[in-house]
Subunit: 135 residues, 2 copies
DNA sequence: CATTAATGTAATTTATATTGTTACAGTTTT
DNA sequence: AAAACTGTAACAATATAAATTACATTAATG
């Protein structure tokens, strides 16, 4: 998918299983096995998207902003994709070619349809469902 | 999606509209506006996947191996994705954490489901359908 | 049979995107 | 005041993708 999606799923699964405990970015980073700063950057993003809350200072950390049953995997997907997901075509097809002139537009249409199908599928699973798979 | 998918769609759309003409890699590269060597690499791949045929030497080029109606966009997607598409998680979560130990497996399950939904959707459109959108 | 116009392919470089690191300021609890 | 956190900027390293160069090979054609 996207490295950030995997990190966010990991973070949120840990939070879902934390039962009201504030988990520190260092603890999360230890489970994911990545640098704590990357975790904090992801935490900031997920917080901005309303999926978790954080507390600064000693005994600080993060916890879910709502119950895991209210968070769909598609929400997490949407929260972590940067702009386009399928696309970012920084290509400049030849505008003098009938195909080149239109291809970007038609590919984008295709990407949009595909993404909708993907989102629909990911909307079937909640974070709670996912987190229960670890039992 | 993937830069190679876009290139392949572009190549195949041009071939679909070529009506039995052999198109050269230089011509294709001119429409896509990328280096001809990249096009040839993609042509090799698409040929190995049975989507087109090529002819060497003077007046050589490529053409579709079958009618555009027989090629689904999902075939092209499958032909261009390298190994995993959603995934390639070269991350090593902490095996001493109950979540870290299992997350890769569960994410892969999710990716597989998502990819199936995507493929199903892309299977609804043929290269012919796509190519007709340029009229 | 030499010329020309193609493909095939390896090796290398360049560009871009992703991921990781360091350092330190700010916040809150004790 | 000390300790344990988060927040964030600036930078470094790595990985991936794209482009380039160079040349061998193939086949048509005059």
């Amino acid at each position: 998918m996207n490295g950030r999606f995997a990190i966010s799923m990991h973070i949120l699964t840990l939070l879902a299983q934390a039962n009201g405990e504030w988990l520190s970015s260092d603890f999360l980073a230890g489970s994911i096995n990545i640098n704590p700063v990357l975790v904090r950057k992801e935490l900031i993003n997920l917080r901005n998207k309303g999926l978790l809350i954080s507390r600064e200072g000693k005994n600080g950390g993060s916890m879910l902003a709502k119950s895991a049953a209210q968070i769909r995997v598609s929400d997490i997907f949407l929260a972590t994709r940067q702009g386009a997901f399928l696309g970012t075509s920084r290509n400049n097809p030849n505008p003098n070619c009938p195909v080149g002139k239109q291809i970007t537009q038609h590919l984008n249409g295709l990407y949009q349809e595909a993404e909708e199908a993907l989102l629909h599928k990911l909307g079937d699973t909640t974070l709670e469902d996912f987190s229960h798979r670890f039992n």
